[in-house]
Symmetry: C2
Subunit: 320 residues, 2 copies
């Protein structure tokens, strides 16, 4: 159902844009949606969800001073997103991006959504259009990520590569780094994980406390079917599915994590931060008051502030 009002008023200390968004009704209808029972039903549901974002992504690419080029790397579909003006390119640095969307949505042309910003800021971004359910469950996405990273290492220095992603993509960035490390590849220079879906099971306080409070990812019930489809029978505490259980003491790059106090994945994010810190990994946590899942792409003021943190962080950790 859609509640007539958000459970809590917007606090006065957020931007006007955020305040307006936080004053809209919270839609929890996804909780009542029947679970897909076949590949066809999955495809229909994914197409419907993606359909709501297609115009938005197309416009964002058209308006930004970037060029998108589709290709394959090691057999995996990728889209390279680079500044229109070649002179703006931060030479030799590469950002490897894993899109969000609950391991089911935002594939194909939508996969560049989060790549446009960093490319506008001068980075070469390789957005991985990793395989997903219903046809390609875990570990296809991790395998694709590692394959693209291995390919990039043929021409780029790991010290000049960072991985980043949001939501499912934030968790996938962590899993790809863990898997690549265990296969003997060098660590990338840095990892940026916005609101990472670090525990696929309903474990962590904010799955309860922010249920019906987060205006975009309003309930775990929006994630349950995707977790089941993606895991494909593997236990959800497998560290490459839920990286909060990863062994970070064997090595992980300096990390930046972000979330908001109304984020359904607040607990996933702070738990992953603690797991990194427990292993002694340098890890910066940024929590924005009253912000929700995915605010970094939606709230212009708060999102821009986070962009600045990310750019500063990458400048600090990526070799020139």
């Amino acid at each position: 159902m859609t509640g007539p009002n958000p459970r809590f008023p917007a606090p006065e200390n957020v931007s006007a844009e955020a305040k307006a968004f936080l004053s809209l009704p919270v839609d929890t209808s996804a909780a009542d949606r029947p679970s897909p029972t076949s590949a066809e039903e999955w495809e229909a549901q994914i197409a419907e969800s993606n359909g709501m974002f297609e115009a938005l992504v197309r416009e964002s690419v058209e308006k930004a001073p970037v060029v998108v080029a589709k290709s394959t790397m090691a057999g995996v579909t990728v889209r390279e997103v680079v500044p229109e003006n070649d002179a703006d390119l931060k030479r030799d640095r590469v950002l490897l991006n894993f899109h969000g969307g609950g391991f089911t949505m935002f594939g194909g042309d939508l996969s560049v959504l989060e790549a446009v910003g960093p490319a506008s800021a001068g980075y070469r971004v390789v957005a991985v259009d990793y395989r997903m359910p219903p046809h390609h469950p875990f570990p296809a996405a991790v395998d694709d990520g590692v394959a693209v990273y291995r390919h990039l290492l043929e021409t780029a220095d790991a010290r000049q590569i960072a991985m980043f992603g949001a939501s499912a993509g934030g968790a996938l960035a962590a899993s790809v780094i863990l898997a690549a490390r265990d296969q003997g590849l060098p660590l990338p220079a840095a990892a940026v994980m916005h609101t990472p879906w670090a525990d696929l099971a309903k474990i962590g306080d904010s799955y309860e406390t922010n249920d019906g409070v987060d205006p975009t990812l309003s309930t775990y019930e929006m994630l349950r079917d995707a977790a089941t489809a993606y895991a494909d029978g593997e236990p959800l505490d497998h560290p490459l599915l839920s990286p909060v259980y990863g062994e970070f003491s064997k090595g992980f790059p300096p990390s930046l994590l972000s979330t908001g106090t109304r984020d359904l994945l607040l607990s996933c994010t702070v738990r992953l931060h603690r797991a990194l810190r427990a292993a002694g990994i340098p890890a910066d946590l940024h929590v924005y008051d009253a912000m929700w899942h995915g605010f970094q792409l939606m709230a212009p003021v708060e999102g821009k502030d986070l962009d600045r943190e990310v750019m500063e962080f990458l400048d600090r950790h990526l070799a020139v």
Copy 2:
């Protein structure tokens, strides 16, 4: 009233001790308590609140390998807390501590509560028994803090001094640093602010979202009278009252801030962190899942993890 049950079950990913505490009823009776209308009524309320902690603090001092010595510095009452074994002392380093308690409670012998841990770990801690309402409202506490700091600087190097505090004491540590800086004193080497009461007004999302959820500081109504008494007519957004409004771009030391996702002051903490970061101050934020206001003194597992972060942070920033 006291609710029969906490609003949310304890998540499975916290320590057994934290789980037990989170399963107790949340007491919100302070919201119904009549506001003190005279100095005598304040004194009675403060004595009643303090009374619940006296045995706890006395025992904690007796059990710890520390020595407490009461004295005055620049006319301000302080208690120096040092390791019993002189050989354990981290020579020449000093931690200046401001106790919590909403600018009304935890004065006198209780003021060493937070000093015992760092002194057990080898630090010389100067716990400031700063003046408080009802007889000494703002800016007495700030003045006392600056006076003690100025006194310490006669014999100690600012690069060997850190300030720390929790709740009201976390905010006071920030205010004392801002005031000392504006008076031309050198910045201390570091600041540690646990769950700082950084905005005395009811501004910030968690004053609403964690109302009745935080098991210790269960509602802003426990703070309202204290804010009024302490501010004594000054606007609550005065930066030395509510340091979230401080001008950090003029200088502030590297900082560590901590909170929990159920903390009523979660928003105060993350907002202060953002204010520091907006000014380019190195500031580490640590957020513990499902933890409450003051968990650092109560949850043995999570609190010990935070102690480790603090000790590492101080080692990194304090000159030898």
